[in-house]
Point group: D3
């Protein structure tokens, strides 16, 4: 399979064509699987704090609804456009189908640099965008989630806007909302947990006991630090971790909880953690 | 004002920019008036009579809803695309505002050559397209009408699809439907009536009495023949009419009812109507 | 046309078959025009004032909805059954179509002798029946009216039950309701007015001046008395009226207002009204 | 009738009791006519521009819905409380019933001094209050209007908030909105027109010809100036007008259009208008 | 109990009367339990592939809704009529109540021979019937299922028609739909599983160990073959099976998986399966 | 903390102020947590069995909806007023939040002595009150439950009224309904179960084995008798119980099932149960 060098949508279409060839799909079915069910562009007027009126473009693509309500993130990024959103929505259709969960695929976004907006501006923009989508989203129709440039607070605003419209607290309209209003426990560490589960699946394939396995984790940010913690908690011996400034090693085992506390306290790096040898990222990858 | 040589959308944007300059609008307001409130593309799968699956693209743009529900036609044409529909929708916004009627502007369409489809295929395609739009159209939201490639029957299918969804006969969801299910009397001759009214307004400006005015009508099709009839009925003396094959003249006056019957009976032309001189279209335009 | 000797439904079907033959309808269209769109039977449990539970059968048939919401009365009568209601609903379809009003035909009823029920029982029965029909009736769907055994009060109960369901006062759900909650002025005398208008239409056909016409009215109840009044008010000379007990005659003219007051005051008959000759019904019909 | 010296609600109840005595109503019906159908208090949190959170109390009382949707104003005033709103709602019920229009009575308000809020704060407050009322108001349920401390802009915000909730432009949810979004022409001068119509009704009673009547208008503000204009336009001779600074008199007649222009141009008073004698308000009232 | 010799409805009513006698129910309660809550007949026009218009009658009876939404199958059969559907609906009420599940009873059908229709005709007929029922069915109201003449595909069409109406994929509106759009795993073998569970319950009553029990299964179609499989899988020794052509016996035990494969491969009968004695159905029933 | 001596609302506000001081809340947040989201008073006209019209006041306060639908009881009591209901609603908000369940707090009631009404009057009153609340309650909005003066039957009437409005059986609109229409098993004994669980939690704190613990229960009514049963069933030795008439003691253990049967059979007291010593309530509390 050779991917197109063009947009995300071109790439996704090449991937689909490749699959269609393998499955020997006829042209009609191939077209049906490619064409999004609904693509919506909406005008999102934003009155800036300084009184200036900015008119942004918001998107939502529901690629496929055949297996249940659509599911997919919402991104705030200057390069966001309809083609990108279409590609991401089609990929969500595939992901949900592959996992066998009863959801279709969707994606949305606003072409904006959220970092340049005040919190009040982000709230007004999000609520206006959500209000435009109200007839098309909902727990039974299409369920947004955080993505690039959006977060728990964005989802809380969407949920509140939608709830005001339906007349009751509708927690099911978004995922990725704060725990206090019904968010899912475990979502924050879900990617790290996935790293651990994938590693354990590999160990099972290799017929190895996790309790007799040593672990080195490259990257000690949001995902890596928790992955180190989960692997350690599940019985592996953590012997090395690293970040952009370098790594640390101790063959007798490192305590990830203490390491996380060390990084949080200052220095922004694992390097220099007491009782460890300093190593490079390259050396970490070459550890046995 | 120099129009762009590009798409309808480019043309419309140049017109808007021109108006914005005259009105000295700030950039925010200019953007707000340009950006469509909602642009929707939907997938319209059509199972052909021969069993082949065709996946068409349907569009609906609601350009502005500030003054009331959106109003605008629906066209079936191979060259129909989102940009064309956006331009036509913006023009509808302007037309409704200029006439002071409480409607916004919209337009829609499907990229298809309707002449290549059977009646059953056109019905299935129209109903599927309508079903996708159900949450966004309605007597209080957006009211389609016939346009290029669509007709009374198309509107009847849309009305029936929408009515089935709402659970009752909803005649208000479309205009241009057949009289028997609630269409407006006079709609068929509305353009011809407009010709007559505009001519009379001009006569009033010139302080001329219609009863002392002679009339020549170029074109004797759907619009021209009825315009000739209305002008005649309102007291003008009809002295000449023409069609693509030539014209006829009688200074003492022609009877449009008899002429229409003559054309309907055969020949497909006014030429040869008894008691008239044959003239060319050019001669008709040069009559006093 | 020979009518069936069977039920109202048989009669109506024979009438339709007759019309279908005249119009040369194919079997499919004939069937379509005969088969009611929806026939509903509902259980109407009624807790009698004495604590006994009675389970009545209620009906509503919506014969045709193609031209707009269905319209038709509601009767309370022991002989009411689904077949009778179907016939009456089909006749309503025809009546609305003949008058060119944008309504379809419906009819409903409960198989009960309303005279045996207390007012509280009639209210409970009506409200329960109405509650069962709520998803199927409404100003845009189907609009009941009084008929045999039902009256303004019945319509007020239905309107209130329906309004409670929709959450606002929905006067449009029934016709024939009391004036104070939105009933139509003139409805009470509508039949009498129809008698007068029909008589005047006949006079116009005969090229006769109403002001030079004498009038005799057989029957002086709810319809006849008001018809006499309207004919008198419109300029005719009322020379005789009659009721089941006989009639009165005065060639110089009778005052219907005074006659109505006379009957209301006692005796329950026009016979004996001062200044009149007593005549029989037969004599009345033979007056010039 | 002696009014209570207490709250508006006490006053209204005394008035009702007085009427009930005249009508000989039983206690149940008297209670039914007094007790509001629904009284709602809502929390209206307002984030001030300076970041401070203020929690205001908003009210809406629907006193009677029996004759149609409720109708009544919305006031922003520090002294607004539930009792005042209940009284005003009951008075609206009476006003609508007296005029024979198919509406019930309602009233609402927020206990706040609107003059202390910025325009942005007033908008946020109004929208939040409106959002809380959405399930209870609407063209078929309850229709707010401007009152003390609220204006066209307030109604526009309510209409927009409500429209966003219903998914389409719902102009019918408020009266007193700006003309450009569907407000009623003539509403601005309606009170002045009422003054003229009442005066003419009095003249008819007195069997006097308006064209032979001279008119003096005390007060030349929003209501008085237009009343003077309407009386003049209808044929009366305007001989004197006054304001808080004094009055002017010209027995031969004053031109109200010119007077209004004179006041608008400066001085803020009619006094000194060329060609007039200066008089006091007392003298104006004593003119023949 | 002696059953009536009449229709299913007569039979069901006799059964109910019998139960009412045992329970000493008063007449009102007896009537309440007999009378269906709602019986609906709808017109189902079907445009045949050859252009002919056929008008079919469709039914849905909701017998009882007191314990939750109604539940019941949908049959396509020429003999289907309202009385049969009423009986089947009442039986569904009883079945759901006996099993203690929170559902009432319903049943529906169309009087048609589905085998005479093309797939396209069956789809159009099903969608039209479903559209008529939309206001009365749904996950919270009434949930159809397959029955005689209908199957998974029928349910998929109903689900899609209903989902189009509600605006989102509503898998809960039918049971018995294909697994790929949310059908229940295990439904296909549910009847066979019931046979096994009933047999085991009997064994428990008799205090017998399934592992020491021999089993003979008469009938080896959709239900019997899977029942044989389940009994075998649960530890019983399968010694004989039979079909319309005869049976096979092997005291040492038969392998149902192999037998099913044998039948599928050809011959359409178990007779002749290697390593077995051929027996008659009568002999099978007399085996120890 | 010193509680106010005033109304329940005063008490609740003092409690909140106390908590706000501990948490150092700013005034805005304190106000937000105090002010009910919505307080509704409705008119509840009741036609008494004797034909008299009584107009009652009904209330519902939804104090907080931020964490999910509101939850709270409904009381019928002459002293019920808006202030009491507001206090009880705020306490429900706190209770739900403390237990970490996703519900807000509400409470409602009618100012009436239910004991003075007939069952029919209670039903009519409850249904009318429920009908007024329909737009504001529901499984996703606000879920009433029994409280002082209301019971299972009250909840069944509310559920039926609400279900009639929504068009389907909506069991989720109330808790505390009869088991037969979806009530929760275990609700009847929930308070007794709570006593047992609290006792066991205390034993765990004290590190004591329930099986070696003796139990004395003061009060042998609805709550106490079942608590004795649950404690006995969980392994404790029940040595004494008492009621208003005195207590019984048997150091070897009492059988609560037999005791309950003894009380039910007559005497209305545990005193005199065979094989026990009679003790006073004071002695019971002093048992070891």
């Amino acid at each position: 399979m050779i991917l197109g060098t063009g947009s995300a949508w071109d790439t996704a279409c090449v991937q689909l064509a490749d699959a269609a060839r393998h499955l020997d799909l006829d042209d009609g079915m191939h077209d049906l699987l490619r064409t999004p069910r609904r693509s919506i562009s909406v005008s999102v007027p934003l009155l800036r704090d300084d009184g200036q009126l900015l008119v942004l473009s918001g998107y939502r693509v529901q690629h496929n609804l055949a297996r249940g309500p659509a599911k997919g993130g919402l991104r705030y990024h200057p390069a966001c456009d309809l083609d990108e959103v279409k590609a991401l929505a089609m990929w969500m259709t595939w992901k949900c189908a592959l996992m066998g969960i009863p959801y279709g695929g969707a994606k949305g976004g606003i072409a904006v640099e959220p970092g340049l907006l005040s919190r009040q501006e982000r709230e007004r923009m999000t609520r206006r965008y959500a209000a435009e989508l109200v007839p098309l989203i909902g727990p039974d129709k299409d369920i947004p989630a955080p993505d690039v440039g959006t977060d728990e607070q964005t989802m809380a605003w969407i949920m509140d806007t939608y709830s005001t419209h339906t007349g009751h607290t509708a927690a099911g309209v978004v995922t990725g909302k704060p725990l206090s209003i019904g968010g899912s426990a475990g979502r924050a560490g879900a990617t790290s947990r996935g790293v651990q589960l994938a590693a354990f699946a590999a160990l099972r394939e290799l017929d190895k006991d996790p309790r007799e396995t040593t672990v080195a984790v490259q990257g000690f940010g949001k995902v890596g630090a928790l992955a180190a913690q989960y692997l350690h908690d599940a019985g592996c011996r953590l012997v090395a971790v690293s970040d952009v400034k370098g790594g640390v090693h101790n063959g007798a085992g490192l305590n990830p909880t203490a390491l996380i506390r060390h990084v949080a306290r200052g220095g922004d790096t694992v390097v220099g953690y007491p009782g460890t040898d300093t190593i490079t990222n390259a050396e970490l990858l070459e550890l046995e």
